[in-house]
Amino acid sequence: MSEVKQLNVVQAINQALHDAMAADPKVLVLGEEVGDKQEGGVMGVTKGLSTAFGERVRSTPISEQAIIGAAIGASLGGYRPVAEIMLMNFIAVPMDMITNHAAKLRFMSGGQTNVPIVIRTMTGVGFSTGGQHSDYLEAWFAHTAGIKVVAPSNPDDAYGLMRAAIEDDDPVLFIENLPTYWTPGPVSFQKVKLGQAKVALEGTDATVVAHSRMVVEALAAAKTLATEGISLEVVDLRTISPWDRATVLASAAKTGRAVVVHEAVKQFGIGAEIAAVIGEELWGKLKAPVQRLGGAFAPVPFSRPLEAAFAPTAADIAAAVRKAVTA
C-alpha cells in the first residue's frame, strides 16, 4: 500500500495484523477475547481477524501462562504468533514464560531454536483504572536480554513497528498506550525497522528522549517552549530495547542538553540507563546535567488529581527544559 490514510492506533494495528496475516500464513493471533465471537478484543484491535483467518485466530481461556507458552511452542513449531496480554499489569502472571523462556531459548540452545513471537499489551494512566491496570513495566523487559521492547507513539509507527515486530526472528514486547488509542494520524503503511529511534521534531537548544504517550507530551511542551524562543528536539525512541544509542547521542551532542522522560516509575526506570549513557559518552560536551522525568515511586492512584500528578506532563517537561537551558 503506498497511499496515506488517516487512522487511529486501534485501526492501524488492526490493519497491520490483517496485512501480516494475509502476507504470511504462519502468522497466528491468540489471546483473551481476540475472536469476533467476543467482539474482536476488548478495544477491538483484533476485530475481523477470526472472520478472515479462521483457526489461525484463537480466543483463549483466561490463562496468561498458557497463552504465552502456547505462543512460544507454536513459534518453535515454525509459526509467528501474536499473543495478546490484555493489560500490561497482567504480564506479571506469565513472567516466567516471557523472561525465562521466550527471551532465553535462543541463547540457551546455542542458536538452535528461536522464538519469533509478538506479545501485544496495553497500558497507561488517564482512565482512573488504578494500581493494577495502568503501569508501564517496560524496564522489566529492557533489563532482560533476549526480548525486544517496542512502544509506538502514533498510528504510523504503530502500523510499521507491528509489521516489523511480526517479521522479527526474536520475541518482541509491543506496548500500546490506552489514552492515545483513538488519536488519528496519517499512516503510510511502511514497515519501521526495530531498533531505530526517530527525531519527531528537530530543534537546537535541548533534546527530550521519550516513547509512547510521553512523545505526545514532549511535542506539546515543544510548542509552549517555541513561544519562549526555546527550540526543542524530540527523539521518539520507538524501540526501547535494543535502543538507538546513535540517534540519541547525536541529538544530545548537538543540543548539549538532554531530558529523558517516561511514564513508568522514574526510580530504576529506563531513563536511568539512557541518562547514564549520555553522561558517559558526552562527558564534557554537555551544557547541563542530564535530567530524568518519570512516574512517582508509588502505585498508580485512582483519585483524579492524584492520577494526574503521577506521570510527567507537558508542563513538567517544559519546566525541566527551561531549567536545562538556564543552567
Partner: protein, 328 residues
Amino acid sequence: MTSNHPKPDAATLLEIYKRATLIKQNDERIIKMMKAGKLVMPYYSPRGQEIIPSAISVSLDDDDYICTIYRGIHDMLAKGFPLGEMWAELAGKVSGTCKGKGGPMHLTCPSKGMMVTTGIVGSSMPIATGLGWAAKLDGKGRVSVANFGDGAANIGAFHESLNLAALWKLPVIFVCQNNQYAEHTRFADSTLVDKLSTRAAGYGMPGVTVDGNDPDAMFGAAKIAIDRARAGEGPTLIEAVTFRFNGHLLGEAGHYMDKELYAACQAKDPMPKLRARLIAEGIASEADLAATEAGIDAEIEKAVDAAMAAPFPDIVELKRDVFAEEIA
C-alpha cells in the same frame, strides 16, 4: 487394564531395554566423572526412571516434539539425542549441542524433536501445548509430549496447559513422572489426591495412572495416548509412577528419604528386572545383552573422550544468540 491394551512385541521390548540401558549406563558414567571432579555441574539423576521414556519413545518419530525438565536426560536419550553433543554440552564445550551455553538443564536438539529443556518446575507444559498447537495446524499427525514431575502437577501452569490442550483438542501427551518426591517433599505431603490422573477428568481429558517401571503398562498407556493424539482426538494425562534412586540433586545427603520406601523401590529396580525377563522369555541371551551393554559403554566412552578434548567456547559467544543479530 483392558485385554486389548497394546503390548510391546519382542523386538520392541528389546528396543526399550536398549534405550533404558543407554540411559542407565550414561547416568553411571556421568556420576563417575562428577565424583572424579572431571565434570562439574548440577546433576539431577534420572536413574530408576529409565523405562518411562524408553517405552514411550518407541512409539514416537524424530519429528514428534518433546519438552522436558532438568531431570530429563532419560527423556532425551530415549528420543535419540546424540551422545557426543550431549557430553560436550555437559562439559560446557563449544561442540556441545548448545555450544556450551545451555548446560545440563537446557539441552536442546530440534532435529530429534527435543525442543525445550527447562529448569523451571512446570514450564515444559505450556510450551509443549504450543508445540501441539503447531502440530495440529500442520495437520501431519505429529504429537507433542510434555514431561514433568509430580511436584509440577501442583503449579498453575499444569492447570492452564491441560485445560487449553483439552479445549483445543491438541495432540499433547502430558507425562507426569511421579517419582514420589519433589526435592525433599513426599508426594503425599503436597496433595491429597492419591492418583494425579484423576485430575484429568477436571479438564475433560482421559487420565491414567500406570506403573512407569513396567514396560508393558508404560508402552500400552503411551501407545493409546499417542494414537489418540495422532488421530486428532486430543490430549491425555499419564501419571507414570516410578522412583529416583539418586535423590533430587546428586551429592545430597538424602536424610529426608523414607528408608523403607527406598529399600522397597530398590528391590524392584526395573533395569535388572527387564534384563532377567528378556533372558527368561528367550528374547535375548545373556551374551547378546552383555554385547549390547558393552557396545553402549564404548559409545559413551567415545562421547566422553571427545567432550573432554574439545575446546571451550570463545568469549565472543556471550554476544551471540542473544538476538538473531550479534550484540555490538
